[in-house]
Symmetry: C2
Subunit: 201 residues, 2 copies
DNA sequence: TATTGTTATACTCTATAACTATA
DNA sequence: TATAGTTATAGAGTATAACAATA
C-alpha cells in the first residue's frame, strides 16, 4: 500500500491508508469492503477517505428507504416515477414516457399493466395516432402520489439525519452541483430542462 | 402537486415543484425522471431539489467510471475488492472474505476461480483448518492493485470535477459523516473498525 | 452434528427479437 | 416502409439447496 506515495504528492496520503472501493454495476447492492480509512499515524484529515465507499453506502441506504416507502406501489420506484411524471407533466405517450424515464419499452408495458390494474393510471387511445396510448393518472393516482412524496421526504430526511440544517443545505448544494455536471457529461435520459443548470452552479 | 403546501410548512416548497425520484434497487441503474427542480416563481433555493435524484446520478456516474477503470480485472469491482482487502489486511479465509465484502459465498467461489486464473491471488490450504483456504495476493496482484488505485483516484477526481479543493473537502466530509451514520444504522457487512467513527463526526 | 467450500438448480430482472395494428 | 405497443424468448446475475470433505 505504499505504492502511491510518490505519484500522489502525498501530504496526507502518506500517513494513512486510503482504501478505495468500487461497486458492482449490476445489482445496485453496495458490495464494498470495510470502512476505509485506517490511520497509521496521528495526522491525516479523514475526509480523504474513499469517495466511492461513502457514495455507495449513502445511495444504498436511500434506495433501501425509498424502496420501503414505495413498497405497496406496483413496480416500486418505477411505478412512482411514472405516476410522478404523468402527474407533473400531463398525459404522455407510452414510448415517450419510457424514453424519458430510461425504462425499456417492453418493461413499460408490464409496469403500466400493473399500475392500471391498481387503478393508479389509465391508458387512453391517442386521438392523434391510433397506434399510440396516452397515459393518464387517475384521481387515486394523484392522491397516492401525495402520500408517496411525503414518505420519500421522510426517507430523505432520515438519510441526512446527522446533519444539521445548515450542513444539509451545503451538502445538498454541492451534491446537486456534482450531479448536474455528471448528468450533463453523461445524460441518463432526456435533456429536458438542463437549461436551468446555471442557477445551480 | 399542491398537496404538500400544508404539511411541509413550506417556506420554499410553495414556490417550486420538488419532484422526488426514486430508484430501482435491482439493477443499479438510475432510472430517474428528468431533473427535478422547476422554479415556478422567483424564489426558492435550488438545494431543496431532490436528494435521491442527485445521489443516484452521482453514484451511477462513479460506478460507471469505476467499472471502466476496472474493466480488465476479473470480476470487475468485486475482483478489485478482494485484491484490496487481502492486500490491506493479509490472507483471509474464503468465507470470511465473502462475509466482509458482502459477497455471497457461492459467488466468491467463481470470483476466486477467475482471480486465480489471472494470477492475481492464490488459494492456500489453511494449516489450522484443512477445510478452509486462505486467499493470498500474488506479487502480480499487488502490482495490479497499485495501478487500479491510481485509476480509481482519477475516477473520483473526475466525478468531483466541478468542485474546487475546498469544496471537495467539505463535500467529502459531509458525505463521509452521512455514510458513517448510514453504515452504523444499517451495516452492510462487518463492523470492523467503526470505532474510529467519532473523529469523523 | 456443524462448517468450509463446491456444484447444480431455480428465480429475477433485463435485453432481443418477432409480431399486430396502425401510419 | 416505419412506428406504437405487445408478447415470447434468451440471457446475465443472484440466491437456494444439495453435496463432499473436514471439524
Amino acid at each position: 500500500m505504499s505504492c502511491h506515495e510518490d505519484n500522489l504528492s502525498s501530504r496526507t496520503y502518506s500517513r494513512q491508508i486510503v482504501f478505495r472501493v468500487a461497486y458492482t454495476t449490476y445489482d445496485g447492492e453496495v458490495t464494498s469492503s470495510s470502512p476505509e480509512v485506517r490511520h497509521r499515524g496521528a495526522a491525516g484529515t479523514s475526509v480523504e477517505a474513499d469517495l466511492g465507499w461513502a457514495l455507495g453506502v449513502v445511495f444504498k441506504r436511500y434506495a433501501k428507504q425509498a424502496a420501503a416507502a414505495l413498497d405497496d406501489v406496483p413496480g416500486g420506484p418505477r411505478g412512482y416515477q411514472v405516476l410522478a411524471t404523468t402527474i407533473a407533466e400531463g398525459p404522455k405517450r407510452q414510448l415517450d414516457l419510457a424514453a424519458q424515464l430510461g425504462i425499456d419499452r417492453t418493461v413499460m408495458t408490464y409496469l403500466l399493466d400493473d399500475l392500471e390494474k391498481a387503478g393508479l393510471v389509465q391508458r387512453h387511445p391517442d386521438p392523434a395516432d391510433r397506434r399510440a396510448r396516452l397515459i393518464d393518472p387517475t384521481e387515486l393516482g394523484r392522491k397516492t402520489l401525495c402520500d408517496l412524496e411525503a414518505r420519500l421526504a421522510e426517507a430523505e430526511s432520515d438519510v441526512l439525519g446527522n446533519l444539521d440544517e445548515g450542513e444539509r443545505l451545503v451538502f445538498r448544494t454541492l451534491l446537486q452541483r456534482v450531479a448536474l455536471r455528471a448528468n450533463s457529461v453523461d445524460p441518463l435520459h432526456n435533456a429536458c430542462d438542463v437549461a436551468e443548470d446555471e442557477e445551480l452552479l
